[in-house]
């Protein structure tokens, strides 16, 4: 069974050939190229991976991702981004998924009522056309919802049961103002000690088309690797979603310095030590291969 890293980012230096957004954390001269990733994968016997567009939603800003997918068609699948408020998201999605290796799109907002007590009509949600396109064209939706929108998800999932959904980073839903970067250039998300996702995203386990990434531990944990304070979250996710709907991922490149790619390839064994060998193999790649339809190597 292949070992698949189900969520990570690669980017190259900003250039006319490969334009991209820049920031203090990813200045124009910084690069975390696919060749560097392949080196880590080789060292750690990881066979395939999902490349997720990091930032920059325009078609041009997807050029590097598209190039990587073209260069290594059997190794990678891609997840793109959609400009918020795009007047014709279907056109954008069609252009990016036309035999490119991009299989879906990442969303963090859904554009529905902030108040769960409001009347819910999914056809009025701003992202309804995106979900509709995904349903009609078999795209995967890659979700990292804002806390204030987590309650909208079951309405969309119920309306589009054929859409494959992947909840990113332990199905967490970051709160407004709780995101920062640490001294190692890693995203940090401040969360409550009581895991509120148990009352929102974990409840989506009922829907068979929903899976969850076991990733991003460094961003939520108050401890160092192996982030034992999150062992309970992993157990709960395992109990709710089962061994067939969890996918291991590293969130490369943010983890390269601490804890390092190699250590993260062992995190599932450390946080879920009672897994059987087949269960571990599923989480480490089998589920991603089946659910995301990775090509045979």
């Amino acid at each position: 069974m292949p070992r698949i890293d189900a969520h990570l980012h690669v980017f190259t230096k900003a250039s006319p050939e490969f334009p991209r957004e820049t920031s203090d954390v990813w200045p124009p001269e910084r690069e975390e190229p696919v060749e560097k990733l392949l080196g880590e994968m080789e060292k750690n016997q990881i066979d395939q991976a999902v490349l997720v567009q990091m930032a920059g939603t325009s078609l041009d800003e997807h050029r590097y991702l598209l190039q990587c997918l073209k260069d290594y068609p059997n190794r990678f699948l891609g997840i793109g981004l959609i400009p918020q408020g795009h007047p014709n998201p279907a056109e954008h999605m069609a252009q990016l998924t036309d035999s490119t290796g991009i299989i879906g799109f990442r969303l963090s907002t859904f554009g529905g009522p902030r108040d769960i007590f409001a009347k819910m009509d999914v056809s009025e949600f701003e992202t309804y056309p995106i979900w509709q396109y995904a349903a009609e064209h078999d795209c995967v939706l890659w979700l990292y919802p804002q806390a204030i929108e987590a309650h909208l998800l079951p309405y969309l999932i119920r309306a589009f049961p054929q859409v494959r959904v992947v909840l990113n980073h332990l199905a967490m839903t970051p709160g407004k103002g709780k995101f920062s970067w640490d001294e190692l250039g890693r995203p940090q998300i401040q969360v409550t000690s009581y895991n509120l996702a148990m009352h929102t995203t974990y409840r989506l386990a009922r829907f068979e088309n929903v899976t969850v990434h076991l990733s991003g531990q460094y961003a939520f944990s108050k401890e160092g690797f192996p982030y034992q304070d999150l062992a309970g979250w992993h157990r709960n996710l395992f109990n709710d979603f089962g061994p067939k709907r969890l996918m291991w991922a590293t969130d490369f490149p943010w983890i390269l310095e601490d804890p390092g790619y190699d250590k993260l390839t062992t995190i599932i064994e450390k946080l879920l030590p009672n897994l059987s060998e087949p269960e571990l193999a599923d989480i480490m790649g089998g589920n991603a291969k089946r659910f995301l339809r990775f090509p045979d190597l």
Partner: protein, 238 residues
């Protein structure tokens, strides 16, 4: 104090729950509903802000510090309909741990899965859930697995669908119904397919153990706790 009948005592021991229909009624129920609605409305925007900040769950909310907001929330802690049973089951050594004055939104999925609250090693832990509005079947009613509170019961696992839990019993009821249950037992809120929120109050009690609750916990409502019994119930000391 209304002590439980032998039949109620047997059901409590064997099944792990008791239902008190019309436990709160008449003017007391109206007072409770009025206070609940007023404070739930007053606290809602702040809750939504906390949801946005990632500090509160999006699927339900509790009125913060309800004992300080209206004395009816204190008065139901030792309400005569069920207080005698609580005292009897804890050998007359009962403390209140916390109230949850809770509004649960209608949502395609229940806000929680099947679970017990505490392990058998915990002192006897009892909850009383009081419906503030009518809760019809399929509207987020409480459910419990009878006998799941007993040592050695189970093992139980959490099914994906609430209705798939073997042997469970659901409890729809009129406003004013109180359901008392042993929190060692597996319980849940069923799905709410209606467009009506479930309004209820969950009172959490325990058999007293030294130091479990300090006198500072409910010091702010000491003036509402003038009798020795109430001071003991709220761990306020002599």
């Amino acid at each position: 104090m209304i002590l439980p009948t032998p039949e109620q005592k047997e059901q409590w021991e064997e099944e792990g729950y008791l239902v008190f229909e019309n436990a709160i009624q008449g003017e007391d129920l109206k007072r409770l509903q009025s206070a609940f609605d007023y404070w739930a409305d007053a606290c809602k925007e702040d809750w939504l802000d906390r949801v946005e900040a990632g500090d509160a769950a999006a699927t339900f909310y509790d009125i913060p510090s309800p004992f300080e907001k209206d004395s009816i929330f204190i008065d139901i802690v030792d309400y005569s309909s069920y207080y005698g049973a609580l005292m009897e089951f804890t050998d007359h050594d009962l403390i209140i741990l916390a109230p949850q004055v809770r509004t649960v939104a209608p949502w395609p999925v229940s806000y929680t899965g099947w679970h017990p609250d505490v392990p058998q090693s915990n002192p006897l832990h009892i909850k009383v859930q009081i419906y503030v509005n009518d809760v019809a079947p399929g509207c987020g009613e409480f459910a419990f697995v009878p006998r799941s509170h007993k040592p050695g019961a189970g093992p139980y696992t959490r099914p994906l669908r609430q209705e798939s839990m073997p042997g469970h019993k659901t409890f729809s009821g009129k406003a004013g119904t109180a359901i008392m249950f042993n929190s060692y037992g597996w319980h849940v809120s069923m799905d709410n397919a209606s467009d009506v929120p479930r309004k209820s109050i969950i009172l959490i009690y325990e058999k007293r153990t030294p130091g479990r609750i300090g006198p500072e916990q409910f010091a702010s409502i000491a003036s509402n706790c003038q009798t020795p019994e109430r001071r003991k119930l709220f761990s306020l000391g002599d």
